[in-house]
């Protein structure tokens, strides 16, 4: 497939890895921000093929993982109501709230539907005028243009039975939070290519300069990831800290202007709670007051929510790059994708799920760039 196979060329990946080996002279810690990249790295065994000097730590870029528990509990409450059709991206269904998940709500008779695109949720609202249709609008900058458009579309179609439960988070504030933490180990970033496809990377030179960290916009195929790592390592070895783009085929400096305009029209900056990580100021988006009629949080009074997180789950430390999934005592035993204790075991973008799926809980795992 064009734009895919070329970037899985085992020989090019191998030679890029060898080049990294030639350039590197001392240990470096590099974080891939995006869970999609974590998945690609673990799936293709890239972390194990890298020279031992390079440690990859997995970042917070898994939308399912960082959606706050309180909001999951709100979703569970709303989805259980008889007059509601609750529409969600599929990965959210198994995310544990305080006690249960959306699957359990569905099993108990709740009308919970998986949609591929938020526009499908709008269609459900059109087709069911006597029902309240609530869409769980979660995600990073990648899903924001789609989620925002669904609100505009509902408005232009005159729908009064469509609302969104918004939990949007943004990457740059998370980078600030990680880099300014006293526990920070990250010396360079692979930036999440598709976030940059939307937002561009004009926000990055200032971050790179302020904390003196290289930030390289990176794609998702094995060759993209290897190229991104090479670019970060070159900068680190040369003592440089710049924002670079190693994913030029999909990302421009300015990003997608029409998408940014619609985000700006529908959303405003808010403080956000990140599951496991805590509050980060100005780290996400909520609906602007002009769209309050579409806000599920004001439309449904859910009363007081008492959240309860699993006491053994260390997902928060994993999302900040401080621990790895197999450091968790519950990993692969008490906690599996079938009965997850934390959100990072649910989504394929979650580090725990990626480690579990590709056998990182076993003594012997297969190596190999191609599979």
């Amino acid at each position: 497939m064009k734009y895919v196979t070329e970037y899985r060329d085992a020989e090019l990946v191998q030679s890029t890895l060898r080049e990294i080996g030639r350039v590197v002279t001392r240990p470096w810690v590099i974080m891939e921000i995006c869970g999609g990249q974590t998945h690609s790295i673990v799936r293709h065994g890239l972390d194990q093929l890298l020279p031992p000097e390079i440690e990859l730590v997995h970042g917070p870029g898994c939308p399912v993982c960082v959606t706050p528990l309180e909001l999951i509990d709100k979703a569970l409450n709303i989805a259980a109501r008889p007059n509601v059709i609750f529409a969600s991206y599929g990965d959210m269904l198994r995310v544990p709230g305080s006690g249960r998940d959306l699957f359990a709500v569905r099993a108990d008779g709740g009308d919970v539907r998986v949609v591929y695109s938020p526009l499908d949720a709008v269609k459900i609202a059109q087709a069911n005028p006597d029902k309240e249709v609530v869409f769980f609008a979660i995600g990073f900058e990648t899903t924001a243009p789609a989620n925002a458009m669904s609100v505009l579309q509902a408005r232009s179609l005159g729908l009064t039975n469509y609302s969104v439960l918004v939990s949007h988070v943004c990457v740059p504030p998370a980078m600030h939070a990680i880099l300014s933490s006293p526990h920070n180990r990250v010396q360079g970033f692979l930036a999440a290519g598709h976030v940059n496809a939307v937002m561009g990377y004009w926000q990055y030179p200032a971050i790179a300069a302020r904390y003196h960290v290289p930030i390289v916009v990176t794609g998702f195929e094995p060759l993209d990831v290897a190229t991104g790592i090479l670019a970060v390592v070159r900068q680190l070895e040369e003592g440089r800290a710049a924002a670079e783009n190693a994913y030029g085929r999909a990302v421009t400096y300015e990003g997608n202007r029409p998408a940014q305009q619609v985000i700006e029209q529908v959303f405003e900056v808010r403080d956000r709670q990140w599951r496991g990580v805590g509050p980060i100021p100005a780290s996400g988006w909520g609906l602007r007051p002009a769209f309050a009629a579409f806000d599920a949080e004001t439309r449904f009074d859910v009363g007081e929510i008492h959240t309860q997180e699993s006491p053994v789950c260390i997902a928060g430390q994993i999302l900040q790059g401080l621990k790895k999934p197999h450091d968790c005592p519950a990993f692969g035993t008490e906690c599996t994708p079938e009965s997850p204790l934390g959100a990072t075991m649910v989504s394929s973008e979650g580090a725990c799920a990626a480690y579990y799926r590709y056998g990182r809980h076993l003594e012997n795992y297969e190596l190999g760039v191609m599979n």
Binding site: M1, Y3, R18, G21, T143, Q153, L157, H194, G248
Partner: protein, 83 residues
Amino acid sequence: MCLGVPGKITDIYEAEGLKMGRVDFGGTQREACLAYVPEAIVGDYTVIHVGFAISLLSEEEANATLDTLREMVNIEEEIGPEK
């Protein structure tokens, strides 16, 4: 949800006031909203996220990246592998 996939636009039309299209992902066809890539034409490659095209892929940039990497391989061959 963040693992956007590249696909080829095979048809463009309007539905409910939005620019929409059909996109081929190596044999699988899907509908996608093209409102964020107003310049898109049939035959373009695009990255799709949750049913929305968020960026058009640049053939020129794709080739440039691959050329740089292949050059690295060639140099490697000329000077011989490490050690």
